[in-house]
């Protein structure tokens, strides 16, 4: 039931990271791995597409916190996009809108990167 998938693809100057399924304490390491691979290959412009994500737990949220400092110190950013209302509520409750740019859809977020 609790399956989780991360797909990444390059799009202009940014990388789109597509999340699917359930992101909780069990699946968070998969996301961590993807992030550290991106860091290792010097890709710091990241758009996370939440379209296919049905659930996020606090451990899942922690992953974004873990990498944001490194990304920003390399003049990149993590922009979040395409959240279902339920997922957005979790982010909102925690105050993530203060920390991250959150967009309705992925193209809007990509535009921000590619216009720089």
């Amino acid at each position: 039931m609790n399956e989780f998938k991360v797909l990444t693809r390059d799009s202009g100057k940014a990388v789109v990271m597509e999340l699917q399924g359930f992101l909780d304490a069990h699946t968070a390491p998969d996301l961590e791995k993807t992030f550290s691979e991106l860091m290792a290959s010097g890709k710091y412009n990241i758009v996370v597409n939440f379209n296919g994500l049905n659930y996020i737990s606090s451990a899942g949220l922690g992953v974004f916190m873990a990498y944001i400092d490194e990304v920003r110190s390399n003049h990149g950013d993590i922009k979040l996009a395409g959240m279902q209302q339920k997922v957005f509520n979790v982010f909102d409750l925690l105050g993530f809108p203060f920390l991250y740019e959150i967009y309705k859809d992925q193209d809007e977020a990509l535009k921000k990167f590619n216009n720089i």
């Binding site: 304490a25 737990s57 606090s58 922690g62 203060f98």
Partner: protein, 691 residues
């Protein structure tokens, strides 16, 4: 030794016949009676006496010995005594003035001496035969037994026929039987099993013993021929006894000549035999290793020692494989060494060997050149054998044996070590599993303690007064959790209440939860406003937390006199205010959700700028509820979430009751909904009701 009535009877019978014969012989030599028929009967009597003696002798026999060298030593002793008797008795009788050849005692004393001598020799011949049978019967098969019995039968046959001395046909038959028994003696060469199992050292000893026995028995045989005095004495007294003794001494001479030769042939192969024996012993040791599964170190050390003994390798060691991060990284650690050390091995990288072993089951390096290929240049050995340790299809490590000589490991050794590694691997894995289960048990115990400790960090009850009433519930999803609930009294009017949730679950969350309690207890009384409290808490937590962790908190200050409430929220689930309309009695839920991000997410400036506070005054019958998302995230067997809406509706439904009644209602509703589905997150609810 046991002398019973029957044995005594045999002795008496043998003695009586001997005495009768003595009387008869005295008459015989006195009147010079030499009748062949009478002499034949007399010989039958000597045989009878001999048989009784044999029966009586059986009790003097020492316990049968399965140790060849002990039997050999005994044979040397008996052989020495019989040879001594033969030579000395001959001399004594000769000194009485008789020449060699056909012997006839000249007086009663000589007759007596002759009788004693004849029975003495007979007794020794019997003892020698019985003792040598101990050797022959070591690991015998039926053929060996039958062959020996056949020899005895033909020897006795020849002895019996010698009664009819001089008769042509019978004497030829006697000679044939004599020949057959000698032939059978020679046949014993194929069944000298006792020699094979001797160690090299014992084989040398056996050579010396055999040589001495050849000399003693050869001398004895040669000294009782018809031309010799001893032979003449024996021939006079009893031709069958003389014949039998002759055959036995000849048999013994032949047997030990053959034994000497066989031993010589076996000396070069005794090294191989000893090695096999060592291997067998080692296997036995290994089975001890396996039954003794409790201590991994001991199993490992025994294994390398046993392999060292089997192969005589200069260096033996085991490295175990450790997995990390869900099998993504692997590491090898040298876990036991024999005649080498971790220090010596640490300068070499065995990665290539491992790869080769995993590809090809085993690696055998027989000469120096091949070491370079395996990236082991300069390794202080010229042969290397590496086999995998595989238990139940798990590759748990490697076993190495190295030798300073090239081509040190032959095929047999290699297959022995491989088989050995398989057995050892199971033992090692068993011991590792055992250690792990002990460790698990210990951790379980620690967790139980942690659980109890954490329960002590939670309040046992929250304050109530005539104006307000409180109750709460808090269950961790596992032994320990990251939910936090607490209360402190700021002054005589005001109370601070807090509910928090540390991200993540289990032990790490529990530690932060405990830390949070310290922060709350120290800040809530000293900080002025709720906003000031939350900013100070963010500072304290932000400097401590790991990047990927955060804490959400909802904090309120209640004026116990007026019902005035001030709430700040750091990323936590909102507070729920349930109130009923004064006129219609209709219940409404209002979410109290002032702005604010989780503790540890933002730096002080940003955090403070974003933080909001909500103030209001509780009305009669109002219920304020704080909760953590464990309750709304609870699922039922269909995977459906309990959810916010269901929870808010439940609160409305229950709000007529006291906080304790509401708590009961919430627990019942959760149990009914989850139908036994385990909680995935810690669950905490705080209920405050204004009277």
């Amino acid at each position: 030794m046991r002398i019973n009535f029957r044995n005594s009877l045999y002795f008496v019978a043998a003695g009586s016949i001997a005495a009768l014969l003595l009387v008869y012989d005295w008459i015989r030599i006195s009147i010079n009676l030499e009748d062949p028929v009478l002499n034949g009967f007399r010989s039958l009597f000597t045989i009878a006496a001999f048989v009784f003696l044999y029966a009586a002798m059986k009790i003097f026999r020492n316990k049968k010995s399965a140790k060849p060298l002990e039997t050999l030593r005994r044979l040397v002793a008996y052989g020495f005594f019989s040879a001594a008797i033969i030579s000395t008795w001959g001399v004594i009788l000769e000194s009485k003035g008789r020449s060699s050849g056909s012997f006839v005692p000249g007086n009663i004393m000589q007759l007596l001496a002759t009788t004693v001598f004849a029975f003495g020799i007979a007794a020794f011949v019997v003892v020698l035969l019985m003792t040598v049978s101990d050797l022959i019967y070591i690991k015998p098969d039926r053929k060996v037994r039958r062959r020996f019995e056949l020899f005895v039968i033909f020897a006795m046959g020849a002895a019996f026929l010698s009664i009819f001395n001089g008769s042509g046909f019978l004497s030829v038959l006697r000679d044939i039987m004599f020949g057959i028994s000698v032939f059978i003696a020679v046949l014993h060469i194929v069944s000298m099993n006792w020699i094979v199992f001797l160690s090299k050292k014992d084989k040398y000893k056996s050579l010396v013993h055999s040589f001495v026995l050849i000399v003693l028995f050869g001398y004895s045989y040669a000294s009782i021929g018809p031309a010799d005095l001893a032979g003449g004495v024996l021939g006079f007294y009893s031709p069958p006894m003389s014949e039998f003794s002759k055959i036995v001494f000849l048999f013994l001479t032949i047997y030990f000549s053959l034994a000497f030769i066989v031993t010589m042939f076996h000396i070069p192969t005794s090294g191989v035999f000893e090695k096999k024996k060592r291997e067998l012993d080692s296997y036995q040791n290994l089975s001890k290793v396996i039954t003794n599964v409790l201590d991994t170190t001991e199993v490992l050390n025994n294994t390398v020692a046993v392999v060292g003994a089997v192969t005589q390798a200069n260096k033996v060691w085991i490295e175990l494989r450790y997995e990390d991060g869900g099998g993504t990284r692997e590491e090898y650690k040298i876990s036991a060494t024999h005649r080498t050390s971790q220090y010596e091995l640490s300068t070499f990288d065995f990665d290539e060997v491992r790869k080769a072993v995993r590809a090809d089951k085993r690696v055998i390096v027989q000469d120096t050149d091949e070491f370079a290929k395996l990236n082991l240049k300069g390794f202080p050995a010229r042969s290397l054998l590496a086999v995998p340790l595989t238990a139940h299809d798990d590759f748990i490590g490697m076993l190495y044996a190295a030798h300073e000589m090239p081509y040190a490991f032959d095929d047999e050794e290699i297959s022995t070590v491989s088989a050995f590694a398989d057995t050892a691997a199971v033992a090692i894995q068993n011991s590792l599993l055992f250690t792990k289960s002990i460790e698990n048990e210990r951790l379980q115990h620690e967790l139980r303690i942690a659980h109890e400790m954490q329960l002590k960090l939670l309040p046992t009850s929250l304050p109530s007064s005539d104006k307000f009433e409180t109750d709460f519930l808090s269950f961790p999803a596992f032994e320990v959790g990251g939910d936090y609930i607490d209360c402190s009294r700021i002054d005589d009017r005001r109370y601070a209440f807090v509910v928090g949730d540390v991200s993540g679950k289990g032990t790490s969350a529990a530690f932060y939860m405990a830390y949070m309690k310290g922060v709350f207890q120290s800040l809530s009384s000293s900080a002025g406003s709720p906003l000031e409290f939350m900013m100070a808490a963010n500072e304290a937590v932000g400097s401590t937390l790991q990047k990927s962790y955060f804490i959400t908190l909802i904090y309120m200050v209640l004026d116990g006199g007026t019902g005035k409430i001030s709430i700040v929220r750091a990323g936590h689930t909102p507070g729920v205010l349930v109130s009923s309309d004064g006129e219609t009695g209709e219940k409404t839920c209002r979410l109290i959700k002032p702005a604010g991000s989780g503790l540890g997410l933002e730096q002080a400036g940003d955090f403070g700028r974003h933080l909001g506070e909500e103030d209001f005054v509780l009305g009669h019958g109002d219920t304020l509820v704080f909760y953590t998302d464990g309750i709304t995230d609870q699922r039922n067997p269909d995977g459906e979430e309990f959810g916010e809406q269901r929870f808010y509706n439940l609160l409305k439904e229950l709000s007529g009751g006291s906080p304790t009644e509401m708590k009961g209602g919430i627990i019942r509703a959760l149990a009914e909904f989850s139908q036994g589905t385990d909680a995935v997150d810690d669950t905490t609810v705080l209920i405050l009701k204004w009277r």
